[in-house]
């Protein structure tokens, strides 16, 4: 291995700098018509945070309704709309675009040493397509709402008198935003790497975004077809999912999960990428098994296309298909556990700094491990028959998505916040928010495993008395969780108003984005970049001032 000596710039030799991307132009028009990937990333960030807030409000409302069996404060129809809107908003408006479109847009070009993404105008178009889709979806909420669940299963979704078409059309439109972002990222990684950024020196965040982009490009069109068929079924009654006309409702489920299972990896892979960055920076150590972690992202992307049938174990699909899908589902465990074991091994004999982003990374590893292991339960056929469509599945999904991806998103947000805004997030507030969110999350969802194993079905407005103590426990947990996010929001606002100015490299990281000023100039670096080492090569650093 090359023994290039690397010096980490210390705080006192800040590079000389010109105007940052935030200062170079101003005015509303300079934002709305910008083709700078950083500004587009920030506009996405604002949008997904708003979507998360909206989806979170629905989550708190539905948990509050479940305090008592029967009516607590809304009727059954309203409750059904709450969980549908919670799911739809969180999936399509928040978690799919959250990390790739917001943090990825900002940092993927910087981490490859490029000036921008490959197609900056297309990037802006993606953002407006996303906004258009979001507005169409919100229009559906205002004009009658939706009560189908985020899965839109036919024939219920073709029969209900709620406003399904605009909601489905919104998801359809947002799909194109997702596809175009994927294309942009793939081309950027292939074509715009700076001299010295070899495939082996790509950050693991980029590897995960690359894998995500492949899924977005290949799977999202199937969702578009499915949703278009659903709209046609509802609008003109083509009958493809209607048994009365020779159609098959189970076919909708196959179509839907052929996208939506890979989509789960669109949601989790970027989160895993963020965790790799955080673990390396705050352990100041090369990621254990870099190549295995990088390839496990690609592995997850491939396997993700082969397991959709595990959502249909009790739907009546053939026993042979069911057994094959169960086997393939077990394969998911391999790349997932490679990642967890390698993060853990990276911590071994490291120099661990428990700053707020690292705490969120640890929360991710803990929650993801519970989410992953309970996935094995669900992959075992006869066990899934009992647990399918119960709160066990809800808890499993939230441990991976909320406990996993959302933790990674927040961790990445706090980690990269100084680079994006030029200001630090208050460490004390950050830790308080972490403690409340981690505690609140586990209080809310762990008990749902127990409830589900005892047979509590999901999407129930009313429930048997024996489940009330679990539901109440979970609801109280959701308040702690909500409070944690409020503290976090306060910490972010406070940082913007009066946060400490950030140096270019507050975490002493070797990753490329930290070698540029905070916030970066319009063209990301003061001078064209030539890279001589990988983002995690801490063992090659010459320690100059100990």
């Amino acid at each position: 291995m090359a023994t290039t000596d690397i010096a980490v710039p210390a705080a006192h030799d800040e590079p000389k700098r010109g105007l940052s991307y935030l200062e170079i132009t101003s005015g509303l028009k300079s934002w709305l018509l910008t083709i700078d990937h950083k500004r587009i990333g920030l506009m996405y960030l604002g949008s997904v945070i708003f979507a998360f807030f909206l989806g979170g409000v629905f989550a708190l409302l539905l948990r509050a309704e479940l305090l008592t069996p029967g009516k607590t404060f809304v009727d059954a129809k309203t409750y059904n709309q709450f969980f549908t809107l919670h799911g739809t908003i969180m999936v399509f408006l928040f978690i799919v675009p959250a990390i790739p479109a917001a943090l990825g847009n900002f940092f993927l070009p910087i981490q490859v040493g490029a000036i921008d993404v490959a197609f900056p105008r297309l990037n802006l178009a993606s953002f407006y397509i996303y906004l258009l889709g979001a507005f169409v979806a919100i229009y559906s909420i205002i004009t009658g709402s939706v009560d189908t669940g985020w899965t839109f299963y036919a024939p219920y979704s073709t029969e209900t008198d709620t406003n399904v078409i605009p909601m489905v059309a919104g998801a359809f439109i947002m799909g194109f935003s997702s596809i175009l972002t994927g294309v942009n990222f793939v081309v950027t990684v292939h074509k715009l790497r700076a001299p010295g950024v070899t495939w082996g020196r790509l950050s693991l965040f980029i590897w995960s975004l690359y894998a995500t982009s492949i899924i977005q490009i290949l799977a999202t069109p199937v969702l578009a077809i499915t949703l278009a068929l659903l709209i046609m079924e509802r609008a003109v009654g083509i009958g493809i999912f209607d048994p009365k006309m020779g159609g098959d409702p189970i076919m909708f489920q196959h179509f839907f999960w052929f996208y939506s299972h890979p989509a789960v990896y669109i949601m989790i892979l970027p989160g895993m990428g963020v965790i790799s960055e955080l673990v390396a920076t705050f352990c100041r150590k090369k990621i254990f098994g870099y190549k295995a972690v990088a390839l496990s992202s690609i592995g997850l992307a491939l396997v993700s296309f082969l397991v959709w049938g595990h959502h249909l174990f009790v739907s009546g699909q053939s026993e042979f298909a069911t057994i094959a899908f169960s086997f393939l589902t077990f394969l998911v465990g391999i790349p997932s556990s490679i990642k967890v074991i390698n993060w853990t091994m990276t911590m071994y004999e490291a120099s661990i700094d428990l700053k707020t982003p690292m705490l969120y990374a640890l929360a991710f590893i803990w929650n993801f491990m519970i989410g992953g292991l309970t996935g094995i339960f669900l992959g075992v056929l006869s066990v899934d028959v009992h647990l399918h469509d119960t709160y066990f599945v809800i808890a499993h999904f939230h441990y991976v998505m909320m406990g996993g991806t959302a933790m990674a998103f927040v961790g990445g947000l706090v980690y990269w916040w100084p680079k994006m805004t030029g200001r630090m997030v208050d460490e004390r507030l950050g830790r308080v928010s972490w403690a409340l969110i981690f505690l609140g999350f586990n209080l809310t969802f762990f008990v749902q495993f127990i409830m589900g194993a005892r047979g509590m079905p999901r999407r129930y407005y009313n429930y048997l008395d024996q489940f009330q103590k679990f539901h109440q426990f979970s609801t109280v947990g959701s308040w702690v969780l909500g409070l944690g996010f409020l503290v976090l929001l306060y910490a972010l606002v406070q940082s913007l108003r009066s946060g400490v100015k950030a140096t270019s490299n507050p975490w002493h990281s070797l990753a490329l984005e930290w070698q540029s000023p905070s916030p970066p100039p319009l063209e990301n670096f003061e001078a064209p970049v030539v890279v001589t080492h990988g983002p995690y090569d801490y063992h090659l650093v010459k320690t100059t001032n100990t």
Binding site: R284, K286, F327, I352, S382, V385
Partner: protein
């Protein structure tokens, strides 16, 4: 996890360590084989067990008692070999029971948590499920596939009886010697009319039954109809023929699942709702 916790503590960054940089952990084949092959064997074992127990769950013994199950928003209906129809599932103890299930509207899912069985019930096709209850008693049935407003009230029970009691139950004529109005009340509750039609005047998915009898009801097509015996009978057997103004044509038909005496009883029950 324990290891991670310990390493977190042991290798935390102490004051004065600001510039300390960690060395990469070297490769160890022995450890990697240990943590790869161990879980692999465990997973193969779990998969095997899952498949074997799943196949047992799917293939019903040849001598099973067969029961037809019909699901509709938002009630279950069970029909036995002799044509008897019930709202709760009666099953003999220690004998395999095989259910042949279909739905009359959207997808439902038949779930008995105590027996660890679940199967989706799909319109336009039959799905099957079997179980063998080993103890007499009453067990909860849920609908596990979201099916609309009263999804969480689409409940029933499995009543497991000793063989003699089971035979008596399935062969008994439960309308004989019972006043018509009481038969009607059982229909109202058992067929889950109550999930859409209230008795207190408040409209739900359908009009309330309070004060309905003898009323002149305005219809969606602009005409009107007097609520009498023939209108009620038609509304039960062909519910979408006349739709009351302000409501959706969503009611399923009860053709075949109610006998004449049930309908007559129901009409008497309706007359009593003043």
């Amino acid at each position: 996890m324990g290891a991670a916790g310990y390493w977190l503590y042991k290798h935390r960054r102490r004051p004065g360590d600001e510039e300390k940089l960690a060395k990469p952990t070297p490769h160890s084949t022995a450890i990697e084989v240990f943590w790869s092959v161990g879980p692999l064997l465990a997973c193969i074992g779990l998969f095997h067990w899952g498949v074997v127990s799943y196949m047992n769950m799917r293939v019903a013994p040849g001598d099973s008692v067969q029961v037809q199950v019909r699901a509709r928003k938002w009630a279950w209906e069970f029909e036995y070999a002799n044509g008897k129809i019930t709202d709760q599932l009666y099953a003999p103890v220690n004998k395999p029971v095989r259910l042949i299930m279909t739905s009359q509207d959207v997808i439902h899912s038949f779930f008995i948590p105590d027996f660890r069985v679940k199967q989706d019930v799909v319109p336009g096709r039959y799905s099957t499920l079997w179980f063998q209850a080993t103890e007499a008693g009453t067990y909860q049935v849920f609908c596990a596939e979201y099916c609309g407003d009263s999804h969480s009230n689409m409940l029933s029970k499995v009543v497991v009886l000793p063989p003699a009691e089971y035979d008596a139950k399935v062969n008994e004529d439960d309308t004989k010697g019972v006043p018509l109005v009481d038969i009607g009340k059982k229909v109202y509750e058992g067929k889950a009319c109550n999930s859409c039609h209230s008795l207190d005047g408040s409209p739900r998915v359908g009009p309330s039954f309070k004060g309905l009898w003898g009323k002149t009801e305005a219809l969606a097509d602009g005409s009107s109809v007097t609520v009498d015996e023939n209108y009620i009978r038609e509304s039960i057997l062909n519910p979408n023929a006349k739709i009351a103004k302000g409501f959706q044509p969503v009611m399923p038909t009860f053709q075949g699942s109610l006998k004449d005496r049930h309908i007559e009883g129901f009409i008497e029950f309706l007359k009593a709702q003043k």
